[in-house]
């Protein structure tokens, strides 16, 4: 049920991202790598919030666990094998998600939000206040993982270009996987849970295992994003698990437009670019240190003016131009066709 416009947008986005390093400088490549990692993280949360209707306010913990696992599992002075390190980090985050989900999914609504926050804070303080993760200073990843086959390096993540390519492939895989998942029976059941959980149970779906599976898959993807982040910067710190970051990723998907995978992609770019813009001293001079103010006001304004997020802008423009069809569209806008 993918419409041509959506498919075109996604293909164009990935083609542009693939071409970008050939025209951009080091700063740009570094920034877009970071944004693509954010996009993977945002996609993981979109599966929970936008698809299943579960507002998780502790997603940074899963990202952070993926990131810390990357550093903690890597040998001190040797490159870890990518083939085992990446799955291990993903599994670590998925395991914590399974634990977190198993308990928090017994609650609903605002209680769910608060319980997920509590689980995230728990992980945050374990990392922040104990020596296992180097405390508040964080820890460094001395050697980046590589994938070696028979002595020759197949994938090295040391230079920015190859790491960019690797991140691009991961983003593509995650996007493709989620797009498949959403149109499958599993995905439709998640959409049903969001639309009307009571009806799902009345027709014979035990919704708890579905939600727990979604939570765990989401955690695994967040862990992947954390892994990439740790490898990119070569350093992790407790702020990766903080509730500020959980909030930021929620804002990304809201900004982009809930209920659409594209929304997570667009939202991650919009959020990160706005942040760069308001932090830029070239634009704001000394005022740039108050960047949070500008960012916050922009986000408030866009949520007020674009209730369906950036994804909904074309529809909003069309409605403005065509006027009277508004009633019809506003009820169909949450239709089950999604990419």
């Amino acid at each position: 049920m993918v419409t041509r416009g959506k498919l075109l947008f996604v293909v164009a986005a990935f083609v542009l991202l693939a071409a970008y390093p050939y025209v951009a400088g080091q700063f740009g490549v570094d920034l877009v790598t970071k944004i693509m990692i954010y996009a993977i993280f945002a996609l993981s949360l979109e599966l929970l919030v936008g698809t299943t209707g579960l507002v998780c306010f502790g997603h940074a913990a899963l990202f952070g666990i993926g990131a810390y696992a990357t550093v903690l599992l890597s040998p001190e002075n040797d490159a870890a094998g990518l083939w085992w390190l990446l799955p291990a980090c993903v599994m670590a985050a998925a395991a914590y998600a399974l634990f977190m989900g198993a308990l928090s999914l017994r609650t609903k609504g605002v209680y769910f939000i608060m319980v997920t926050l509590a689980f995230a804070q728990m992980a945050y303080y374990v990392i922040h206040d104990t020596k296992i993760g180097g405390g508040t200073d964080g820890i460094y990843l001395n050697v980046k993982p590589v994938l070696k086959v028979g002595g020759s390096t197949l994938i090295g993540l040391n230079d920015a270009g190859s790491f960019y390519a690797f991140t691009w492939v991961m983003l593509l895989l995650v996007f493709g996987l989620l797009a498949l998942l959403l149109r499958s029976r599993f995905g439709r059941a998640l959409a049903g849970i969001k639309a009307n959980e009571q009806r799902m149970r009345a027709t014979g779906f035990s919704t708890y295992p579905y939600k727990l599976a979604a939570f765990t898959i989401s955690g695994a993807i967040a862990g992947l994003a954390g892994f990439l982040f740790a490898v990119k910067d070569g350093v992790v710190n407790p702020e990766l698990l903080s509730w500020h970051f959980s909030g930021a990723v929620l804002i990304m998907i809201i900004l982009g437009g809930l209920g659409h995978l594209r929304g997570a992609l667009i939202g991650a770019f919009a959020f990160a670019l706005l942040q760069e813009f308001f932090q830029s001293e070239a634009v704001f001079g000394a005022f740039a240190k108050h960047w949070l103010l500008g960012l916050g006001l922009t986000i408030i304004a866009s949520v007020a003016l674009l209730p369906r997020g950036l994804v909904g802008v074309p529809d909003q423009v069309r409605e403005r131009l065509l006027g009277n069809q508004r009633d019809r569209r506003s009820t169909t806008e949450r239709s089950d066709e999604r990419t």
Binding site: R185, T203, Y210, S335
Partner: protein, 250 residues
């Protein structure tokens, strides 16, 4: 005629909310081939009874048997999979999905297979066929592509019946399916129920007394959580206790 085929049985069902006795030792039997109506004033405990039978609320005492199994401890989804469909007093549908997708997702419950993550849900032959058949039976053929939220009230009630039928239930618990319907829609719904009762056991909670007396084979009257009469419509109509308590002497 063969012996009555009791598909759902509630025995001495009791539910207390604190000091309030919402349902007081109610026993009820639903047979295949008959419509069993439950009537009573607001607050008589009819909806609580339905919720207990369908598994949304646990009874304080008593037991529920579905197709010969004791299902008192079964959660609602398990009862639904075993053949219990229900509709709600307020339309409980997926407003953002198309009519067809509402039915298809309901039918998917019979064929869940969530591990087939690479296969499109639309490719599940069993559920698309069941969905079409259920929509056809409920008279929604023309509206398959319409978003369910845009249906008229009566059509939403029809859709809810279709979603019940899509899971191929043996027992239907219908909570005020006629509420808010016009005369024509009521006629159509009653015709559908008359058609369905041959192969299903139907429990009907309804306020429209004309409709109840037209369709019901058996009527149970509840007052303050307790059953004061349970008999054929004719006998219930003539019962002095019912006339005093409910029909107001008409």
């Amino acid at each position: 005629m063969s012996a009555p085929d009791v598909l759902l049985r509630g025995r001495e069902i009791t539910r207390r909310w604190g000091g309030l006795l919402a349902v007081d030792r109610v026993s009820i039997e639903l047979e295949r081939g008959s419509v069993h109506a439950v009537i009573g004033t607001n607050g008589a405990g009819k909806s609580t009874l339905i919720n207990i039978l369908s598994g949304e609320i646990a009874p304080s005492a008593g037991r529920v048997e579905l197709l010969g199994h004791d299902v008192t401890a079964w959660p609602q989804p398990r009862r639904a999979r075993a053949g219990l469909g229900r509709s709600y007093q307020r339309s409980t549908i997926y407003p953002s999905f198309s009519v067809f997708e509402n039915c298809r997702l309901a039918a998917q419950a019979r064929n869940q297979k969530p591990w087939l993550w690479w296969q499109s849900a639309q490719r599940c032959e069993a559920s698309t066929t069941a969905a079409r058949a259920a929509a056809h039976r409920a008279g929604l053929d023309e509206l398959l592509e319409r978003p369910a939220g845009l249906l008229s009230h009566g059509q939403k009630r029809q859709l809810e019946i279709a979603m019940c039928l899509a899971i191929a239930p043996e027992v239907l618990l219908l909570d005020e399916p006629l509420a808010g319907m016009g005369a024509e829609e009521t006629d159509r719904m009653l015709a559908l129920l008359a058609e369905l009762k041959a192969s299903h056991a139907i429990l009907l909670v309804e306020h429209d007394m004309d409709a109840v007396f037209r369709i019901a084979d058996r009527i149970t009257v509840m007052v303050n959580g307790a059953v004061i009469a349970s008999d054929t419509p004719q006998a219930v109509r003539l019962s002095p206790a019912v006339q005093a308590a409910y029909l107001g002497g008409h």
